[in-house]
Symmetry: C2
Subunit: 383 residues, 2 copies
């Protein structure tokens, strides 16, 4: 096991009816900016529950956060924060709304262009406090210190992390996910599954607790994921998926172990340049990474095949190969595509898609050796 | 899954050489009370590492915390804190030292007799900040808000919990556990295993993440526990046991599920009246609880038998029975006794041992139905 330092101070309020707890969670007298997305919360009753719980607070609304939230939109929110003297941010949404809210939180007091936080690792000295009401089990942003933001004008998608953007609290009511569109649910299942894979599927360092937790999460997400589309109103399935997705990226299972994240980083360009859903980029790229880095990942691929997919026949290499097939099959059963060609992306596009790896100076993967040439080769495996 | 609220703000600093990080973890200029036990840390080099890391701080030492720490000793420490105007407490030890330090932290500013915190649920309004250097993988106190204290004059042992006593940080260096006596290591293995059992072995509520985590922890503790006595200087085994023990009671796996804790509560009297080690009380009582509450626990006993001990043959009832035998066998292989008679406790002692259940008004177990009569019957199964 590798050395690590860990602290996650997020207060989780989990379960049916928990949105009503909001008024006790936000500091009394706060001027709240309620940040949300395209307005689906007005159709499914969440908006009503939240505004009722916020009675007595001075609330300004900021709707319109996009999937893969835009830098440009966040900057408009920053203006509102300054104008209205907002002192608490409440994200009501999925990972995009929460990520946007985190970026708004650090941009308000940032000296210079906040884009530098993403592109140049600009130092974050302060942040507005924020809380979340989660409406989609997927990214884990509700219980971590990370955020990913896209800039439309330059077709870039970049991330940052700071302990200052841990939410003060996150309200997780599985019932609010009943009415989600199938595509978002399926994306959430695949996204959270691959978050675990990124922290698990590297080389063994004999970290048994972390491995057991990761294997448990993959099993649960696989098992419940295959059920949820046919049983959208099953509380237990929704609750298990929601809590699994939070645990998949609250940075707990990744302590003391090597991590990969190459599928994520490479996937950013697929979203920024072609508008693919985040989970869709991962479902395409992960089998490529597994195949390209097969030798490095073989031991844990075989183990994953056994404990997640029940693959017990064959040599270690054979079981590891079958695990890749089982993963891709899982993503397809969830309704996602697993090939670039299915999304209208061709060989001619690969140079531009691999270019950000060089531009950002990334060396990806647990061995920090995947450069833009290798990234292009991985993508070529997925045409 | 049941509703829950959860927050654990402890910063964990884990790994080889991490004691050196102390100087950066304690607020600059703090007047530190270094609380420790019987002085073993002076023989194994930990004392030297800690005092070196504390250079530049004003440090007062308070040695002499006992196993099952005494209220009376803690009160002496409170006097020292007031006299020396201490503003930070550093526990260097195992669960007993940490529990004592937590009680000292809340006693300093408590109005009235601090014993009321334990015996009457006296309200805790403030606490001195504390950090820990863990020297024994066992209780999880390094990452929770709980403490158990004994009062010698009345042969009582009671617990309290408050979010104010979460350590600000805990330093976990597995290497410091190499030199521990066999008995303490074995106790730690059994103690941490049973912490998981108390949160797992109830009735199913379809909480798949929590169950998977608990099952993983039991597997790891069982597997590594059987190895550690023969391989005391194996870093990976020590690291896995240390991280497993922390996770066994950092209150994470128990969120949203029913919990038992009857073996713990009943065991307090065995320690208070007969001086048995805490883990020893659990090793004796748990098989009794499993047998007495067999019907209520059968489903999860069978599951535990399968995933922890590899018991796959027979009906559910048969597998569940075998799991009880396997548990007791595990404790014996770790060198612990599993019968009251082996510890000089006889039928005539049972009334007094069961009496605290009534005195404290406890209704124990996940069904809140174990009173002193039933407690006595459980103990009678273990003569």
């Amino acid at each position: 096991m590798n050395n690590f330092e860990f602290c996650n101070p997020v207060k989780v309020v989990f379960g049916k009816g928990s949105i009503a707890r909001l008024s006790a969670l936000i500091p009394e007298g706060s001027k709240v900016l309620m940040v949300y997305g395209g307005g689906s919360i007005k159709k499914n009753g969440i908006y009503g529950q939240v505004t009722k719980a916020l009675e007595g607070f001075e609330v300004t609304e900021f709707p319109g956060i996009e999937a893969n939230p835009h830098y440009e939109t966040c900057m408009k929110a920053v203006e509102v924060v300054k104008e209205k003297k907002i002192d608490f941010l409440l994200a009501v949404g999925g990972g995009s709304v929460i990520d946007a809210t985190k970026f708004i939180a650090v941009s308000v007091g940032f000296e210079g262009d906040p884009w530098d936080i993403l592109s140049k690792g600009g130092e974050i000295k302060n942040a507005l406090p924020l809380g979340t009401v989660l409406t989609l089990a997927a990214t884990g942003s509700e219980m971590n210190e990370r955020s990913v933001i896209s800039r439309v004008s330059t077709c870039e998608k970049l991330n940052f992390a700071s302990p200052l953007v841990f939410p003060k609290f996150s309200v997780l009511d599985p019932e609010v996910t009943y009415s989600l569109p199938v595509r978002q649910v399926a994306n959430g299942v695949v996204d959270s599954f691959i978050h675990v894979v990124e922290q698990y599927l590297t080389y063994p360092v004999n970290a048994k607790v972390q491995d057991a937790f990761s294997e448990g999460l993959m099993r649960v997400i696989h098992e419940e994921g295959l059920k949820v589309l046919d049983n959208p109103n099953d509380y237990d399935i929704r609750a298990n998926l929601m809590w699994a997705a939070t645990n998949a990226l609250n940075v707990w299972i990744g302590q003391g172990v090597p991590q990969d994240w190459s599928s994520h980083r490479m996937g950013y360009a697929l979203t920024a340049q072609f508008g693919l859903d985040h989970a869709q980029t991962l479902a395409i790229l992960l089998p490529g990474v597994m195949t390209y880095m097969f030798k490095e990942k073989q031991v844990k691929l075989a183990r994953m095949g056994e404990v997640v997919f029940g693959i017990t026949d064959g040599t270690e290499e054979e079981r590891a190969r079958k695990a890749i097939v089982a993963c891709e099959d899982f993503f397809r059963r969830m309704g996602l595509k697993t090939r670039l060609g299915e999304c209208g992306i061709a060989e001619k596009d690969l140079d531009a898609l691999a270019a950000p790896v060089d531009k950002q100076g990334w060396k990806l993967g647990e061995h920090h050796n995947i450069d833009s040439r290798m990234a292009r080769e991985i993508m070529a495996l997925r045409l």
